[in-house]
Amino acid sequence: MSNKNIQKKETAVPHSVERINDQPVFIPAVDIIEDNNFFKIISDIPGADKNSIDVKFEKNVLTIRAESLEDNYKGELVYGEYTTGNYERSFSVSDEIDSEKIEAKYDKGVLTLILPKAASIKPRTIEVKTE
C-alpha cells in the first residue's frame, strides 16, 4: 500500500504559489536502477498523453511533467478512487551524468528515462603491461 500512496500523493504546493489550473498535481512513483553505464528512472504515469510529457534538464535538475486529463467518464461518476491531474517530479542529478545523451521512452503509461554516466566515472579496466 505504501508504494501506491506515494504515487497518488499530491505535491505540497507552498501557500505562496498560486496554481495555474485547478488540476491536482501528483508525484508519480518511480524506480531508479543503477547499471555500470547508466541510471534508469522508470515512472508510472497512467493516463498521460504522450504529447503532454515534458522532460527538462536544467541546472542539474531533471524534471518530468505530464498531464493525465482524459477522464473517460460517461455520465456521472458513481465510485471514484482516482482523479485526473498532472504528474510532476524532479530529481537532482550530479555531474556524473552525460546530460546531452539523456533518453526518454513512453509506453503503456510508463515513462523510462535513461541517463548515461559520463565517461569519466565509468568503471575502467586498466591494462597491465609487462616490461
Partner: protein, 166 residues
C-alpha cells in the same frame, strides 16, 4: 440501491464511495479501507504495509449514464495480455499480474523502488443489469476502460418522476 449509496463523490478530495450491495460487505469494506488508509499520509513504511509488496490494488473509477456503465482502472505498464476481465452475475472481475523487471533487478542495483508489482484481483459490483455480449474493453496509456452497456430491461426500469409545483 440502498441509502448508503447516496454519498456524494467529491472531486479533488480523497473521498471514496463504496457501492456495496449489503450492509455487511459495506462495513467490511469500510474496515478494510480504514486499515488501508492508516498511515497513508505519513512518510513512514510500516512493516504491515510492506507485506503487501507482491499484491497491489489498482485504482478504479466507475461512472454511469442512462445507457451504460464505464469502469476505468489505472494499470501502468500492463497490456491486454496481462489482464483478465470477466463479467459474472453481480459484478465485474478484473485480475492480472504486473511483471516486475526481475531480470533487471537481479543484474543491477535498485536505488529506489516505489512502483508496485505483483498480482491483483478486483471485483466491482455493478449497479444494473449489463448486456454481456456488447461489453468492450480497451487499453490506452496504461488505463483500462471497460464499457458495459445496460440491457433493455435495465434501461426500461428507469423512470423519471415528474415534480409538480403547487
Amino acid at each position: 440501491m440502498s441509502i448508503t449509496d447516496l454519498i456524494p463523490w467529491k472531486r479533488n478530495k480523497n473521498v471514496s464511495v463504496n457501492k456495496s450491495r449489503s450492509f455487511h460487505s459495506s462495513l467490511q469494506n469500510e474496515v478494510n479501507r480504514l486499515f488501508d488508509n492508516f498511515g497513508r499520509n505519513w512518510d513512514v513504511d510500516f512493516p504491515f504495509n510492506k507485506e503487501e509488496s507482491s499484491v497491489f490494488y489498482p485504482d478504479i473509477n466507475l461512472s454511469e449514464n442512462e445507457n451504460e456503465c464505464v469502469v476505468t482502472a489505472e494499470l501502468p505498464g500492463m497490456d491486454e495480455k496481462d489482464v483478465n476481465v470477466v463479467l459474472k452475475s453481480g459484478g465485474l472481475t478484473i485480475k492480472g499480474e504486473k511483471k516486475s523487471g526481475s531480470e533487471e533487478k537481479k543484474q543491477n542495483g535498485y536505488i529506489y523502488s516505489e512502483r508496485t508489482y505483483g498480482s491483483f484481483y478486483r471485483q466491482i459490483p455493478l449497479p444494473e443489469e449489463i448486456d454481456p455480449d456488447s461489453v468492450e474493453a480497451k487499453f490506452k496509456n496504461g488505463v483500462l476502460t471497460i464499457t458495459l452497456p445496460k440491457t433493455e430491461k435495465a434501461k426500461a426500469g428507469r423512470k423519471k418522476i415528474d415534480i409538480k409545483a403547487e
